[in-house]
Symmetry: C2
Subunit: 330 residues, 2 copies
Amino acid sequence: MSDVARAAGVSPMTVSYTYNRPERVSADSRDKVLRTAAELGYAGPDPSARSLRYGATRTLGVVLGEHLTYAFDDPQAVRFLAGVAEVCAERGYGLLIVPTGTGDEDPERVVSAAVDAYIVWTTTDDDPVLAAACSTRRPVVVHGGPEREGTTLVGIDNRGAARAVGAEVFATARRPAVLSFPVDRRRDTFVRPGVDPDTVAYPVTRDRLAGYRDAALDLGVDWSEVPVGVCRTNDAAEARAVMGRLLAAAPDVDAVAAMSDQLALGALRAGGPVRVSGWDDADVAREHGLTSVAQSLREQGAACAAAALGDPVADHRDAWRVVRRASTGG
Amino acid sequence: MSDVARAAGVSPMTVSYTYNRPERVSADSRDKVLRTAAELGYAGPDPSARSLRYGATRTLGVVLGEHLTYAFDDPQAVRFLAGVAEVCAERGYGLLIVPTGTGDEDPERVVSAAVDAYIVWTTTDDDPVLAAACSTRRPVVVHGGPEREGTTLVGIDNRGAARAVGAEVFATARRPAVLSFPVDRRRDTFVRPGVDPDTVAYPVTRDRLAGYRDAALDLGVDWSEVPVGVCRTNDAAEARAVMGRLLAAAPDVDAVAAMSDQLALGALRAGGPVRVSGWDDADVAREHGLTSVAQSLREQGAACAAAALGDPVADHRDAWRVVRRASTGG
DNA sequence: TCGACATTGTGTAACGCTACACAGATACGA
DNA sequence: TCGTATCTGTGTAGCGTTACACAATGTCGA
């Protein structure tokens, strides 16, 4: 910048004003500065220096959990991101996907991201990256959970919703079952009856599991007899395989509550149970006549972004409803 | 930082070394510094200042085109992003989605993003944002096109691929048709016969259209008789509607080459033509037995990221193949 | 002719950090 | 006892910018 100033025969401040407050500078100097800048290949103030000076970066950081790679494969996460991106674009904020690799590296690294606030996608209670984000004293908005002092939480009442859809899908069942997201950071797949919600590290998964258990108890079903199939990723093909194992272990299962439409689709394809419910009411649910818990992740993403930027956010706890379709008898 | 230094009774440099070269500092001072930092709520060096000092941000910028919102709705773009994200996560780079709104605002704003390099998703020849990115003198990698002096281009030979799949889908057809992406930034939808590829502003769309025309000419079909349906977004529902209009105008159409599997799916659902081909070989193509041009956008995303970071990249021009399925007679 | 006021340009200082060169202390073999 | 090497801490300078206060000019009405 000082080169440009020298070459144009003005002071650096004039150059600065040319870019930031063009009206503060005479048309003459402005033209001269811009011409000189073009000649010298100067493309405007350096963003890092500017952020340093301003104390703000006009960028939101999104932490997508320990496996960034899964995030883009998960249509839910993508819809959520779309909501965040929408608000960012509107306000001219950048959207930084914070690099988190295998989860083994130093979580403090996340704080080396130049952002004004963090949005954290559903994670575990003990996620070190969440802790690191909080330690920066920048605003932190968490989607789904965990709830944490000093952060804003955006999400629905997963337990209540699970109970409601569970009542629907388990209604006439003799042997209900559940298809679940991972229960801890190791993301093992397994099938086991009566998984205790309290042992689940992801708050969202924990709440949904507890809600399904509520529904089972409401119907007088012994939870310890309810097989739970845990899938590593939110993927229909994997869910189908896990469902196969579940049916091998408990062939009389005739109803499955799944934590996503993708998992539910896998259950349908495994060809076993009569009644199936999903979650999120994605296109795929509509196409396959799947009973599902409708919620707008896009809206929640937008709400997270707005909250991160300091706007007051509406309570989303009741922003869900059960959509009944053929997969639970219409 | 200087506060911490003062409180811990050491110099700022010692604090700096504590974070950046812990081994350069005695265990005593290190502990003292970290303890003091924790007390004062100091969470490590400020990223902006650090970038300024280093002259690098360890962040890659991705420009998703004039309508950020569409990008996340487009499964192709998402897969591409997944590839970029993968490389970023591996190397500890952040991935910044550069805010581009309606396209009306000052394109120079993109250069106000603190990134080390830009990756530009398929855009038009005259995209002002691309120009702005180039003017920063930071490395620019373009996916798909346009080709531009001083930038790296990653992408397949769209014309060749379109010609090949066109030969397949048009083979026994009496009246071929095309379902296309938008032809310019206005993104109008329309149906018109013989759209001239040279009038198309998006290089990728232009090349594919030219390839389809090549295929038509190879079969002795008069291009000016070939109806082209242009869709605003990469969405099956919209494609179905456009296909309906196309069939209304030309009911004898019996083969459709579509520029994506989503568009092809829309064509299938419109229930008209016998032969249909898609593009990208997504899950949806496999499920519906759709002949498609297979290419790995994820790999191309990864290649773009690698190129942006200065790695030499393999040529992707021939990284495609036609997958024949039932939709063109097996 | 003078002061009040608007317009335009400039210098200083600071944003928070780290490369570099150097200083003091300690250890060790000769 | 001395020189040399190693370890640890510090000061300076500068990365590129902009807020702020001020100076230099021009404009205008009284």
